[in-house]
Amino acid sequence: MSIWEYANPKKFVETTTPLLPWTFGLAGLCLVGGLIWGFFFTPDDYRQGATVKIIYLHVPSALMAINAWLMMLVASLIWLVRRHHVSALAARAAAPVGVTMTLVALVTGAIWGQPMWGTWWAWDPRLTSFLILFLFYLGYMALWEAIADPDTAADLTSVLCIVGSVFALLSRYAVNFWNQGLHQGASLSLDAEKNVADIFYYPLLACIAGFVLLFLALVLLRTRTEIRVRRIRALELRARRAEART
């Protein structure tokens, strides 16, 4: 019994059916808990005032936006190497979730930027590379949409995802080089001294956990939908073929 057994679509759907409500429940719990905790039970920051609370949406969504692409990268590699359909479909399913996360991070960032930097948007390296990531998501999704044959689409998008990852990384460094930014550096690293105060930190962790779980749940749900769409397509094709022969 290997882990690849779950790469069979039927097996995957069966296995995830009982998991799905739990994932959603847990995600909801963490999110609601974390957000309430963060919004109502933490003090205002001495410099930023109440605006600091947007961090509970901004940071988790930004994190997940990047991690979604990583997950797609891994899934694409698995598809190319082992040709498991579930893997390709999971990558496809993750893209819209990832792009939504990117959008949420962009929007919350912009809303936060207005009081903090006095502008909705600045061509800061962090922000800019995020916008580029957004473009990569768009291209990836557009390519999926444009190709009729699902296996060809899976192959081509996988290659695009890999090549895109290289260039996304490259852009990241290029942008850094291009402009020194306004945006915060990493402040969540575990060993850093200038970590955000604990009082902001724990609810933030809860929110991050919530976003991770939410992402997981949404990707599971969407993967199952994609599998069923493929299944319907396959059944229709077969029915049509049978009909054509009679």
Binding site: T119, W120, W121, A122, W123, D124, T128, L131, I132, L135, L138, G139, A142, L143, E145, A146, I147, W178, N179
Partner: protein, 218 residues
């Protein structure tokens, strides 16, 4: 004519993207410019209206060669020419379909994207108005250009070469309107000119395009 517009729209959507693609391209150009020019907000604000207009123009341009090329390749064009639909209507229908898939989404999105380039708030209505009047003219002129180059290999670049000079007045008036608007000045005059151009192209271009198509089909 409705049939043709609907078919073209359906083809655009079916072939992936449709409306979204033009928009995405627009977004990309807007993102690229700061990379080239540098991120200073003041400089960007200064050039924002011009860049937005140039981007709209390029988005229109990039999709032009497909207006007739596909119909030429698969042999639909002679069939359409012998259909009861006059070629003038064909050209107009093509222009309308092109505008719906590129010009319209651009017009709707441009004000929203302006803020990436720090466009000054006063410029928004003028930008929007200018694009609403200018993009149909872009599509109409583009249809003429596409008709002129249909069947030519490497039509793409030649087409841009032919069409871009025709686009210049639209660009000048459109960008001028947005720029004046951004400086808090009155900008109805360039808009009126734009409207005139739009009406003029609407009256003339379908006929010119049909004429040229007929010659190309011989």
């Amino acid at each position: 004519m409705k049939a043709l517009i609907l078919r073209d729209l359906r083809l655009a959507i079916r072939a992936g993207g449709g409306f979204g693609l033009g928009l995405a391209f627009f977004l990309i150009v807007i993102v690229l410019v700061p990379f080239g020019v540098g991120p200073e907000a003041a400089v960007l604000r200064r050039i924002a209206p011009g860049i937005l207009w140039v981007a709209a123009l390029l988005a229109a341009l990039l999709s032009l060669d497909r207006i007739f090329a596909l119909d030429h390749e698969d042999g639909s064009l002679p069939l359409l020419a012998t259909a009861p639909l006059p070629l003038e209507s064909v050209a107009l229908a093509k222009a309308i379909a092109h505008w719906i898939t590129t010009g319209l989404p651009l017009t709707l999105a441009a004000p929203g994207l302006g803020f990436l380039l720090n466009l000054s708030p006063a410029a928004y209505p003028w930008l929007f108005g200018g694009l609403a009047l200018g993009t149909p003219a872009l599509s109409l002129i583009g249809t003429f250009g596409a008709a002129l180059t249909v069947g030519l290999r490497r039509g793409g670049l030649l087409l841009s070469l032919l069409v871009l000079p025709l686009y210049v007045p639209i660009l000048i008036f459109g960008a001028e309107a947005a720029r004046r608007g951004g400086d808090g000045l009155e900008a109805t005059v360039p808009l009126v000119f734009l409207g005139g151009i739009a009406l003029g192209t609407l009256a003339l271009m379908p006929f010119a395009a049909a004429l040229v198509l007929r010659i190309n089909l011989r």
